[in-house]
């Protein structure tokens, strides 16, 4: 994935286990922080 590429609408899970996709957070500049761990 390179700069300028559109990002797929990845499936994710909320803390309650329900499904959500990345597009639910789209519509404005979005900073994605991928964690290494929950410490």
């Amino acid at each position: 994935m390179r700069l300028g590429d559109p990002v797929d609408d990845f499936p994710l899970l909320r803390a309650d286990g329900s499904s959500v996709t990345l597009s639910a957070f789209a519509g404005k500049p979005l900073l994605l922080i991928f964690l290494r761990h929950l410490a």
Binding site: M1, R2, L3, G4, D5, P6, V7, D8, D9, F10, P11, L12, L13, R14, A15, D16, G17, V20, L22, S23, F25, A26, G27, K28, P29, L30, L31, L32, I33, F34, L35, R36, H37, L38, A39
Partner: protein, 135 residues
């Protein structure tokens, strides 16, 4: 990032934290951290892999530079915590900025476990994007 969240919102941005932990662990994390932004799980690592976030190696983890940076973090008050079940100590993280149309405009893949972008750099990417989208 919690401290800069207001600034990100002022610029019209949003923050989404992604973990590969199981969702039930996110409940505890959200409660502990009281984060103002959403945290979601990618336990299958689908998004991690698509964004090119790789696993490091024990050899890399034990390199002098990495150990030194962990020592510096500990001297600044950080203390290592036990990994949760299912977490992978070798998985690397990263930071990305997407525009309103889900296009990738900023990429930072951590080269090793302590490697993260400067918060100022992230704010700059969001501010630049906000300016461009306002035109």
């Amino acid at each position: 990032m919690r401290d800069q969240y207001e600034e990100i919102q002022r610029l019209g941005g949003e923050v989404l934290v992604i973990s590969f932990a199981q969702p039930e662990l996110l409940v505890l994390y959200e409660r502990e951290q009281s984060l103002p932004f959403p945290v979601v799980a990618d336990p299958t690592l689908t998004a991690y892999q698509a964004f090119g976030l790789e696993r490091t190696t024990w050899r890399e983890m034990l390199r002098g530079g990495v150990l030194w940076r962990y020592t510096q973090l500990m001297l600044r008050g950080w203390s290592p915590k036990r990994m949760n079940k299912g977490e992978d100590v070798l998985q690397l993280g990263g930071d990305f900025v997407l525009d309103a149309h889900r296009r990738l405009v900023y990429v930072y893949r951590s080269a090793e476990p302590t490697d993260r972008p400067a918060v100022a750099e992230l704010l700059k990417a969001i501010a630049t994007l906000a300016r461009e989208e306002a035109i």
